[in-house]
Subunit: 356 residues, 2 copies
Amino acid sequence: MKHNFGAGPCILPQEVFKEAAEAVLNFDNTGLSILEVSHRSKEFVAVMDEAMDLVKKALNVPQGYSVAFVQGGASLGFLISAMNMMRDTKKAAYINTGTWSSKAIKECKNAGGTPIEIASSEDKNFNYIPKNVNVPSDCDYFHFTSNNTIFGTQFKEFPKSSIPVVCDMSSDIFSREINVADFDIIYAGAQKNLGPAGATLFIVKDEILGKSSVSIPTYLNLKTHVEKESMFNTPPVYSVYVAMLNLRHLLATGGVPAMAKANQAKADLIYGEIDSNPMFEGTTAKEDRSNMNVTFVLTDETHKEEFDKMWNAAGIVGLKGHRSVGGYRASMYNALPISSVQVLVDVMKEFANKYA
Amino acid sequence: MKHNFGAGPCILPQEVFKEAAEAVLNFDNTGLSILEVSHRSKEFVAVMDEAMDLVKKALNVPQGYSVAFVQGGASLGFLISAMNMMRDTKKAAYINTGTWSSKAIKECKNAGGTPIEIASSEDKNFNYIPKNVNVPSDCDYFHFTSNNTIFGTQFKEFPKSSIPVVCDMSSDIFSREINVADFDIIYAGAQKNLGPAGATLFIVKDEILGKSSVSIPTYLNLKTHVEKESMFNTPPVYSVYVAMLNLRHLLATGGVPAMAKANQAKADLIYGEIDSNPMFEGTTAKEDRSNMNVTFVLTDETHKEEFDKMWNAAGIVGLKGHRSVGGYRASMYNALPISSVQVLVDVMKEFANKYA
């Protein structure tokens, strides 16, 4: 039994893997593999429609918003969101919480805009979330990254803004309740809590569509994908299919509220251990600790090799920290059961018993 | 038993589906699903490297060329290729063989270029390939679509060009031998002869990289993907994995030369039937007939319903023609066995016996 703490692509429910494997051999009793069906077939059109509908259900997406599946990951999403939100000023306000925000800022420039870094936590290697940020009113939009996978920080409250809000929620969408009406564009690479890599989710306020002040190539225009109901061109069929299966599973097991509760319990368990175990310390400000990506280091590296052997022996995978932070990163996406977190916590306790 | 004549996403070898399904449950004996492994894991890095290497082997890609897997399909490829090939004149020469060429022309404009339609078959609903085209020397590049899936036409010889050549080979790459050295950029959506939807293949002459006269956003710059060996951001993991399996299968069964021979035999079989059967006629100029997508109509619609019942009963799927042409389209990608073509031909014969 493996315990997958990988940062993404990452664990999905085992039931989803089972159904996903079956469909590669026989999709929806068509006698065909999901990999060989036309995206225009009635069977796949039904999948796409259900996937978009389940996103709306799971997040209580209000009237006046559309859902679209696009390709290119958040990395292309940085550009797409900037291009679609350019208005008169071509200025945009960004909070920089590291790596992904920095990349988003770069693509704002590539979209012809002037990004303004209104706050940053770079002074402390992005180990906290800037607070009390004053979002200026003279920009076209405000952008932030809800959760930083690398540094293990997460916005617990979202900044207030009088201008349109764009959020990259790649690594914590569907992990907690959000009020979609507070946002103009939400985007997220699928490969954390949604599904396999290869699809990018956009949730878009319809009224922002078609109002950009810059010329947008067809594929990068969200209007294209909304109007064509995510079928402008061949979509990433399998990624959307598995996302649909995963969303069905999410809704059948209590939806986002149940998931948020489970994620909090997992976070309490591991952060509790980090704070009480003398061998470990967290790397981020306590109040900004991510419930998705838990970053920690050894207080003393003497027995690092022994610790690494212990968690490896326990079937834990994906625990190595990102090179920007070092140490360890326990990613605990929706599908990771608390029993896996308990296995890690038990290893941490045993490690302290042996070497503290 | 189904006979999948779908235009794409389309049939892949049954052996590939079997391996692809197994990996969703246990990838490479990791005890993890291919859908949950990190794209930075050594196991998946090996997959990506092998996939790129097998593309080179299968097409005898010469030194000085790179292979990259990107996302967004040919629809984003239209823009990417144009942006990367813009030079001093910003003019580009396009042959318009329908739909896909038209879309490529549009994205050349969106890239800031001036597309020049140097030849077109629009006068006859794109039912032929323009011949003896004189490619001007005062453009930045020349673009054409090697095979048109909708109208069922295919370049049998490629136009001579003194300027850099860009080709959208989405629907016939790996179906016949090509001389990669004749091209500067080849691109192709994966979902015909390569693998599942969600990946786009680029084969790029290294010396064209970084020389564009327009500013290119990061994701759209081929230099990004070549330098990062298709790992600039999370790639479409599963699509690349299955493409790798399919390329292994291709090379193990004789490679592109064997495939070209098999494809010619399938084409001879069905076009032979179309030409000898009084109930059917082809819709394209004979010399331009695609070996991938065979378009034909009934000479008399009286017994259309009976014909449709007959092929449905034989287990044939995906035969309906595109709305732009009507009638029927038998797509015969690499993985479609000649036995499936024989089933269709037998139905056509039986139909003529009953109703001619």
